[in-house]
Symmetry: C2
Subunit: 465 residues, 2 copies
């Protein structure tokens, strides 16, 4: 190991992690300060930078023709912007007292120290992978990285797989179910929860369940996987729960992710209840003036509940990177928090949510009313008008909007954005009834579904003492 | 004429106008109070109630198969809810002092007085119809009422019309251009303004212009119609401007509308600068405790500029009716105002706007920055991602959002709703950069186009002294 050479007056920014948050931070810091003022060194242990993990299901499903489409910026492109990017180099230690990081070349094993003036931690998340028999068998795949996606695609094309089991029915699970259905597989989704999409209330998850079955996907709820069974060739052949076995030529794990914060924990940096790094609103690690963290490895403030949450989502990671790069580059920016917006689809079914579910609201000590309505995406008489269910939660007494869930077809998903802005602004459902939303027959009924839900919710608020 | 009979303790609500605002008010008042408490009499001079004028272009264009699809509620349905609906009966006078309205049966000519305890004026708007030679010739059509739509359709099917000229390039004009293109016509749009869609700034209108020409529509801008030329058979044969003649087998007028407030003016009720009735926030006509007005005949408060505007739009009319019916029924509701959201399409081109254009902002005394960006509707790598241009106006110094205009393809139009809510809440463009909008590759790039525009606008605000 060798200390970095003397650097004169030029500051050095070290970035750990070469995906959305880390490289956005590096790029934005570079925009703020040129290479004469700021040296930027970034470490990435994998083969790729700045890729869209959210796009993997669409690559596997065939909508995106090739892997490289998912790469927003290659290592070479980053280097062309004067970022000293060290690929296949894993940071193994953060020495906060000395202001340096230890790293190891993944291929050669060579180790080195690099000192920093400013540090960005963007180590991302790792998929939950329960320690069950058979988890490491060939044919069992995660879909977290591009390498994972390639391995799954190879597995699908090399073998005569016809039956796929997806474990988990969150965003990744349902999107992978779509991908595999699109490839012509018989798909079974094994889900621990009462209904798929546990980010929705079960009554709304039920609609997803029914729609998935309508698409020919077999949904198995309330089912805990106990082991994966393998055949004589060692490959996975079935997924077992307490009650049943589901034959599988290929198994995809979509159980969720946890913050990748082992490095940070070893360095004594503050972690929250969900295992993510805790930062201030400028994305500085709490108590550390010159260390920032962002992306899937941090916890974020939920503006509706007032609590920290962990949400692994590329759009947040990009915003974090932008804020961090601005601050690390000597500017000022903040990330005020999230309201928990997410949108997804399974074939033509669109699923969206923002704010609190019923159980989140209860956990936060809030009393609330709910309103669920059915409407259509366009004027009822306009071709392509499709049904949509909107559920809305509003706080008792104040009438403040607490959350919205939408399940429908084309035009349903992004309608949740109206509620996301209303949550951010702290609007009441009564105020929402007067929102001036775009209306024309090809775009909306004369009362937009969100307005219909707001009217019903406002009425329910008024009926509560 | 005869005075109405004694009515005991039962109040009488009289409604003038049987379309969206009037019948929504009547229906909501009925929900609030049963027929034992409140008598409701509604007058409509035409043949229809509660129809969607906004849907007429889609009926003419063939997307909506028949007229009756555009009728939300028939006279019989209203009567079944204990509304004494008098069709083909035109109110000719409002006698405010005596609390009564005079009406004439359109067919028989019979006249009568009806007294009211509470009055709702929902007389709508009338199309602008310049007094030019040839305006009344066969083959010249408005598209304001269902009768107008039927007359146009009859004209289109009866004659061998191949060339259509649309006068006006606002919402109605461009929607009718689409309808006629869809029916296989050669379409020319003659427009007085510099670019089509004068509700957009000209730089954004230019995009509409180019797209319309791409669709095969001939756009003629900066052209004032001077007369309509007729043939030997008396039918229209061309539209003339100062510079040119445009052959036309059929002419559609889409020049805009004015509030229909002659009755109200005769009664001495207060009108605003745009000719619309002036109300308070509960939609009561100013200075008149027991008279409400709503829909296309009123002016509404623009929450961004702080001024009154006239906007004829079904969604506002329905909200007005809801508020009026609640108040007239003894409850309490307000219509706080509009931010000026509108959305439209020409074939697959989507056009949306909310808030102030540059000239509106100047007129309101505001200094501002603008930011225009190009992005896509979905992640760039996802199939169907289509380009979208977003223009944003923000106030100098405060950074408060002032307006957004969007021109794009599928997924562009309803994105304006995010800005509509942000305007309502008074968000700054800097605050908007952190909005938690729904992201997944089929729905949005990782930075939603609205966020990209907000970032650029925020930067522009920061660069201003």
């Amino acid at each position: 190991m060798s200390m970095s050479a003397a650097r004169g007056t030029r500051e050095r920014l070290v970035v750990i992690g070469g995906d959305a948050a880390g490289m956005s931070a590096a790029s934005q810091a570079r925009r703020m300060k040129g290479p004469d003022e700021l040296e930027i060194v970034a470490f990435e242990r994998g083969h790729f930078t700045s890729f869209s993990a959210c796009g993997i299901p669409y690559w596997v499903g065939g909508d995106v023709p090739e892997r490289d489409k998912l790469i927003a910026r290659t290592p070479e492109e980053h280097r062309a912007r004067d970022i000293d990017l060290r690929m296949r180099t894993e940071v193994t230690e953060i020495d906060v007292a000395a202001g340096r990081v230890g790293a190891r070349d993944v291929d050669s094993g060579a180790e080195s120290w690099t000192s920093y003036d400013k540090l960005v931690i963007a180590t991302g998340a790792r998929p939950v992978r329960p320690e069950l028999p058979g988890m490491d068998a060939p044919g069992v795949h995660g879909v977290q990285t591009l390498d994972d996606g390639q391995a799954l695609l190879d597995s699908l094309t090399r073998t005569r797989a016809r039956r796929a089991v997806v474990v988990g029915a969150g965003y990744i699970g349902v999107e992978m179910a779509e991908a595999l259905i699109n490839r012509g597989y018989e798909v079974t989704v094994v889900n621990r929860g009462r209904e798929p999409m546990s980010t929705l209330d079960p009554d709304m998850g039920r609609l997803v369940h029914e729609a998935m079955e309508g698409l020919g996907i077999t949904m198995v709820n309330d089912a805990e996987v106990t082991k994966l069974l393998t055949g004589d060739d060692g490959r996975v052949r079935a997924v077992a729960t307490e009650d049943a076995e589901f034959p599988a030529d290929v198994v995809v794990l979509g159980i969720g992710v946890r913050p990748e914060t082992a490095l940070a924990a070893d360095a004594g940096l503050p972690l929250g209840a969900h295992g993510g790094l805790l930062t201030d609103l400028a994305m500085r690690v709490r108590g550390h003036e010159n260390i920032w963290a962002g992306g899937d490895c941090v916890e974020v403030l939920d503006l509706v509940s007032g609590r920290e949450r962990h949400i692994a989502l590329g759009t947040h990671a990009n915003k974090h990177g932008q804020v961090i790069g601005t601050n690390a580059g000597g500017g000022y920016a903040t990330f005020p928090g999230v309201v928990g917006t997410a949108v997804s689809k399974v074939c033509d079914l669109e699923i969206a949510r923002t704010g609190l579910r019923e159980k989140d609201a209860r956990r936060a000590g809030l009393q609330f009313v709910t309103a669920t309505i059915e409407s259509t995406s366009r004027a009822g008489y306009y071709p392509g008008a499709s049904p949509m269910t909107v559920k809305m939660l509003a706080e008792r007494r104040t009438g403040r909007l607490l959350g919205v869930q939408i399940v429908g077809r084309e035009g349903a998903g992004k309608r949740v954005d109206v509620a996301a802005v209303a949550l951010t602004a702290g609007l009441t459902v009564e105020q929402m009834t007067a929102l001036d939303l775009g209306y024309a027959p090809p775009f909306s009924p004369v009362w937009d579904p969100v307005l219909v839900a707001a009217r019903k919710a406002a009425k329910a608020v008024g009926q509560q003492p």
